[in-house]
Symmetry: C2
Subunit: 215 residues, 2 copies
Amino acid sequence: MKKSSRTQGSRYYPKRYDFDPAQRNAILDEGLVCHVSFVVENQPFIIPTGYCRVDDVLYLHGSVGSHFFMQMAKGIPVCVAVTLLDGLVLARTVFDHSMNYRSVVAFGKTRLVESDEERWLAAERFTEHVIPGRWEEAGKPTKSDMKKTMFIAVEVEEWSVKFRSHGVSDDPENMGLEVWAGVLPLKQVPQAPEADEEGVKGIPVPDYVLNYKRG
Amino acid sequence: MKKSSRTQGSRYYPKRYDFDPAQRNAILDEGLVCHVSFVVENQPFIIPTGYCRVDDVLYLHGSVGSHFFMQMAKGIPVCVAVTLLDGLVLARTVFDHSMNYRSVVAFGKTRLVESDEERWLAAERFTEHVIPGRWEEAGKPTKSDMKKTMFIAVEVEEWSVKFRSHGVSDDPENMGLEVWAGVLPLKQVPQAPEADEEGVKGIPVPDYVLNYKRG
């Protein structure tokens, strides 16, 4: 686990930096969307997209016709961020307001996944990352589906894990202010499933949909 | 509203691209965290951070001691993304799975905010963006608080708004599969407020905390 000027925080927040791989994996496995940045002629770009993790590798997938994926197929430096927002920290003064969050930022290089074995592994793990139980049940990709799909591995060279998870930190001189202070937790909550009304009738909603949760 | 190779989708998804400023503003005003990318020596970086919108300008703020903010104070090209995840689209086949989301990607240049008037406007709008009603009630920033805080305006040159908001789109030949299909909506939901136990006792939870919602 290297630290460098890319991943060392510019100010030392001992509570906010952490490089424990288990915590990093927990954040990556809970997140659903990542933001990928890359550079074209000194211009930064960001694309929000799905992802999955297999050990220390992040996988992305997209259409073989996507310009973004064609860029990544060449092997380019990327930065990938996954951020989970956990709550609003409402201090007695505006200045001490904050947010609770957990984030992973990964620096690495893209690699086009070429072997069938790794492509199928990525396809399965992608599906299971988003909704465990779905791969077994849904129709598997056909040869034609797989031909249309590009898988990119991000070989991560450096990770940064940053978080804030504690309560309000007001300055002592502000503790007498008559202002409500506390944390308002935020959570990504599944709502009632909306069944598609076409196709075969009477299929019950699977347990893995009814009981879906992250983290 | 310019379109260029930066903001034109590489494939034409009429349902997914849109440049309506009202929709763009709604996404920006609902989001709480943005991802900012910038380039240092051809290396892309991403920082997740808070933001607010004032008309067509995005504001960021951070510590005057932050390396990231010191970079941005120089006036550098950035890409800023705000992504809202609305649901999982569970098709009959793995290949047709998708996500419903709304995202804004902005390309622009950073500008150090120097005038007191604009700095105070940004401070107020930042607070009100996160939790409307809070600015009036919480202790205002002191001169010293403001000295420690850098405000950066992102002067946006181009916007891209992308979304998916419809149901399952399975290929006709897969409609006979006996697989449950539908959308599992996801929503960022506030949980019970956790009051700070220090300080003045007996302050009721404000309505703007109890009834907090986004969008």
